[in-house]
Symmetry: D4
């Protein structure tokens, strides 16, 4: 559809209604997407597992309702809908639009599942260190699942009790991608990275106090990881980690 | 091999030379790798594409020579040898050990290629913004190749001349993993991430002056990328980016 | 008027009521504006497009009312009145003073238009990246208009979807000055700066979380912009950006 | 020239050698600049006053020679050539290419003047605070002149001796754009901005010690300026300030 | 108990019900604590003086109740129970579980004393500088006591009134470990460290304003202490300081 | 009084009830203030102009009442009482203790004047830049007066309108000490310091937004002041500035 | 002398050679110092004790020679000459100009004493903590003396050996102003400030390593001092501290 | 010896040569150490294991020689002499004073052993992560030994290869105090702390690049350790860690 205008123009040249020079001039003023940027959008869809995402923070429940309604009304689309950083009120309005809406209160994620197809090739394992890291881990877990991946969560495997982590080596060994969520000193990804041969996406959390500086200590720890299969996303960015993990997991 | 000792112990129990209780006591004092940590090392090898790596910074040429000699003397091993952050003098001693040694002076990488097998499934594209980012990009490129990947480099595609980047969209579209190297404002990974559907590993460089704060501006820019397929490694860490990219590229 | 006192003094010298030495002593104790500082104020007026500005943050609605009343009571003045960072209550009291008062709730700007004359020579285009940057962009837009400029707003043209920005190249090409508002990685001004030949005023916003550090990431990105027509103002300073843009746009 | 390929394609459609649909497919694969990005480059030239610029830092004298030789060899071009952050050795090789090359040792700028035409409409005044700010001020001054502007320099007008600044009010009043260079507390742009009605480009310098943090104190001071006609560029970025000033000064 | 499974396995080998090779395979899949990690937990208990600890911040009163109920229900255990960073509501639910629960409102510590045995060898003295440091000092004091130590508190002995500190030299001289709690410039540990021959655990507090940066000034001061018997814990970490002090005080 | 115990001891030696050696042993265990630390307290009183000070922040109104009651009950003392950072409720309880209590709501200072004697030798002038700096300036002004100094306030003399400052040169010339209160870029002390020959105490305020970083920009600006008669106190520390100014003003 | 021109102008009015209106116009164009800014310079001289100062850092020996020669050639001037941050070579050229030149190699100060008059009223005591702080302390000491003050130095009185400081209480008690130089934790000014009743100028030094951050730890410690007679100057700014101390010491 | 003067004074009172009141006055002016501060020094000696320490950095070889000569000449003293942060030249001059001098070139420590007595009760184990951390670990090791402790070093036990650490659990279990040296992410102390029940002194090192910020990442990681037996010293402060460890190890 987006190339229709260009096509018409070419047709006019063929029909001699337009000289090549005049056509050239007009091509230069076509909006860009009339050329081939649909490919870009296609990439975007592929990358997110045919999931539509709304970042609810800073939007009113009413604004979220309008966006979600438009998503649900789109004909032929069966994408899962994911709303992150939402509250109870936003959930109420979304629920009124779709009975399938499910709320995860710890992380504030709302999911409307419309497509249960698994598109990722392997398992994504989300590992988290302390109780307070669970909200971020949950955001990663639900996002990964909504994007069409098998995903599981290992809780409470901090580095100061290394045996709890080592007990789960088999599960870690099953993963195709690992998401590692930790606050405070952020040491977990280094230890996990040393135990496995797959990519580890590290998510620092703002959990902690004093010299944790709202997640900066964990962020720096992860950036300096001595394990060479670790990369890092922004503080508390569980969604982003799952997005990248899903992108990796879909690689053919 | 690493479980031999445990096997002998179990055999002794079977042969009644050792009581189960005494065996239990001895198991607890076995060094850990006698159990099954070889699997860990195996992972490590898999992950790095059967490449042996030496970080030369802070080591004398003599120290590097001893390490490399040991690597070359290992029987049956045909791993590529990679020495990063090395200087001319270190290259001279390595060259005396192996005529195959090749030096990349911009990045200070030395490579001894002994295995041309391609183990990665797709293409790794290294994109860099300015002339001064090339050393870090070269470290990433040579590392990716030494780890058994096809890898190419797109030079000089900064965001302030967006058309140069857009010209290379086809090449970007061929990549299975992209490494994006940029200093100053570190905006390149966001733009590249928006154009493709594969994972983008962002490497901030310490290039710049004043408020670039030796790469901190680029690092923060990348961590805050609005493209959801971007992850980040440490400033100037071309090796680490290639390591992760290679790890992703080997995923079956 | 401001030199009256000095004139009287000189007249007294002429009339020999005052010796030159005594006059010299008195000149040294004249308040400064009695010399020629009115010129300074004149500049100020020119620069702000004959607009009177109140920064409402930290002032009570009552205090704002008194200041605005004084502005409206000034004889002969037909300056537009602009009140920034105001809330609903402040708007109520201002509305009671002037029916022409108009409130922009996203940015908290109140405008009393009394002069529709266009003083700026060209068009000021305000470009913003994400939905959450709109309040700052709106402050810039309304300020630019109140200061006597034609001004327009391009929404939602972030760098991770570069084609949306490129679609608007014609509009960007019409601008005499561009104001570029962006949070997170702050990459937009570099890309925009590379597309146009006019000055770009970059405004970092405090939008983001984690390593955005309340706008610091965007600020650093903009200061390190590789486009050489970009300058920067303080985080969230939409008013300041419009002020400078207006000052540039009025240059003969 | 850059649209030749597209023109040929359109001609082929006219000549019925190519169907409109096939032409559409081929257009989508044209390199971008074949469409209309020359316009971008044109902008770039306009913006920099037909000046060719080389950033010499991090390049060898040999590399600079090759780049400059190519510039000088370009037929028909009479652009001024500007080389910033260069040393004595680089100057020697440039001098051997062109006798017109002139070296400014304080700032490390080399200029090859080939075009004395004044393209800017008004005067750019560069104001600097202390002796140690002169190198950055000189970079700004020479850049502004090479880009086709009339430009002058006011030395040593720091805020702790306010009368020295006030003596120059007439000169400040003549400027169309002011560049204000200051280290330490970076207060000069606020004072200057209050005295004039034109845009002030503030350049923090890394001059100072201790809590100046290599220019951060000055940078923050300038970003927080209470004068509303001040914008800021990166620390020590005299070139960037002159670039923006020149861009403003060329506005019709 | 934790090695029972391994013992059974060895017994099966002895009984020829399992071949050594099969046993080897099974050993590798045993959960780790079945080997000997109970020793780790034993260490943990020793270290904390048989005290069970709950960090209440970020947990609902209901969650704390469940955790504490489980602790109290554990048969044979007579450990003291310590709940840190709790509020009034949490205290109410804990009080309903155990009448022995005692609340320290300044620090938010709840203690259920079930064991009055003194396990530490000497006296722990908690020294604090200003009134506002008392909450953190109280957390340290109650923790130290709950972990089975004699512990006392010296109040209000800041460095700007050095004589108040010197009056208490005898008490300082009695201590086996000193905990030094101070905000603002954090100078107290240096002075105290110079007066005694025992380890000093320094706790920076977030007390202060402006350039105290929520405890960073105190933290840096303590890390740079010129007294060589000073070590540091995180800002406001009274619990951690007491934990370490208790660990030292129990050394035989 | 504080040396009474030592005197008794010496008397006992004279009376031969105590041997010199035994007396020596006892002296070593005397509390320190029994020697001569009263001198220290005397200094403290002198320094603060016989003013008793309570820092109310973090204290309940009840706690402040008890402290103030004790001050008022002290026999023979006629010191002024100063309570800083207090709220309405605290003022109510203080007012119930003393009808003379006076509240300054902008700064939250409560003063009970009991002594109108002027102890300082000259005039302290408090200069402030913007409306929002007035609370800190008021804290300085009231403190200076309560400590027995003549003190005056010059409002709204920011550096971007330099003529307003210059108008007040005569008043500045009368001062023996100047307190300079400014937020944002903190440039005022440099300009004022250049106009006078007396010490200038600079107080950065947390006024501003974005890159003012709650007063850090102003603090750094002041520490880097190019005027050599400027010293700095903590952000928002109006009390401290007045304390130092008073200390200087009392120098004979 | 500086008002001569204005006087002539007034004389002309008196003589009716100039109308008051024309004189008014001419007054507005007089350079500022023609009015009364000599008073400013006079202040400057008073403040610095009739000392001429050259900051040698960043100047060549030749440049320093020219400046110093001009100072020495000024007729009638008998000011002391002070050159700070100089090296051996600069001293050699200065020595060749004046045999009286004296070099302090630790601090790099050169002094040419031409006036031994004591202008300060009391004693300035410079207290320093460790051996490495001596260069900064020496800069302060020599500057204070060159500016016409009696000044003494107490060495090696760090807070971790508080008795060494207390031994010097009598000397501290003699001071009219104290300069307190300390690196690392910067605690000395707080302790000293608590012992005396006079102003304490705190100078943080860049001495230390790791978390001293080149003097930032000491700077923050001093800004947060709990002693209310402490103010702070920039890191390593011994000259500035002595300048302020001298300014205070000259107060009548 | 230090109380002789006080004794004489008391004797004079006994002999009626001095009235008690006059004696009181004189006591107040005695230097402090005449009372009982020798006890402080005694503490210092006890704490450092009768070791004399020289910090050589910033001292010339000649200065170190004089200090060491004085130490060796002290009659009756048999303390070990420790010189830290020294170079080859300093070692040469020390060697010429004492043949027993031994140099550790990695860390720059020189030791003159004169006393082999073991004063610490248990074993100090120094654990280090990477090759580049060895210099700091060596400083800690040699210091601990020179202070009279048994001390051992475990090399190369980073967290990314957790099995290497676990192999050494028995050695860790023997320690009475552990010193944990690590750069980069600084995660080692958390893991080690979780494995043992004794105090762990964490030493961040400045090893790393980019976002390690010269040891800040490791420092923050350690301060946020989730293991409650970890305390922290300054970056690279191996000496300080050993000092504290020795102080703990000597506790009876």
């Amino acid at each position: 559809m987006e190339s229709l205008e260009l096509l018409k123009l070419l047709q006019a040249v063929k029909d001699k209604k337009l000289s090549p020079h005049e056509a050239l001039r007009q091509v230069k003023h076509l909006p860009f997407e009339d050329l081939d940027f649909a490919k870009v959008d296609h990439h975007r869809a592929l990358r997110q597992g045919f999931t539509e995402v709304v970042f609810a923070k800073g939007k009113t429940p009413g604004q979220v309702r309008e966006i979600v309604r438009a998503m649900l009304d789109k004909k032929g689309s069966k994408h899962n809908v994911l709303i992150t950083r939402a509250g109870e009120k936003t959930f109420a309005v979304v629920k009124s639009l779709s009975k399938a809406a499910k709320f995860y209160p710890l992380s504030g994620v709302i999911e409307i599942e419309r497509n249960r197809e698994i598109a990722g090739k392997g398992l994504i394992v989300v590992v988290s260190a302390g109780t307070s890291d669970i909200p971020v881990a949950e955001e990663a877990l639900v996002t990964a699942q909504a994007m069409g991946n098998r995903a599981e969560h290992l809780y409470d495997v901090g580095v100061a009790g290394i045996h709890r982590l080592l007990q789960h080596r088999d599960k870690l060994g099953e993963a195709r991608v690992i998401i590692c969520v930790a606050g405070m000193e952020g040491a977990l990804p280094s230890v996990v990275g040393g135990l496995v041969g797959v990519p580890v996406i590290a998510v620092p959390t703002s959990v902690g106090y004093g010299a944790s500086f709202d997640g900066v200590a964990a962020l720096l720890g992860m950036l300096n990881s001595c394990a060479s299969n670790v990369t890092v996303v922004n503080i508390d960015n569980g969604f982003g980690a799952a997005s990248v993990a899903s992108c990796i997991n879909r690689l053919p």
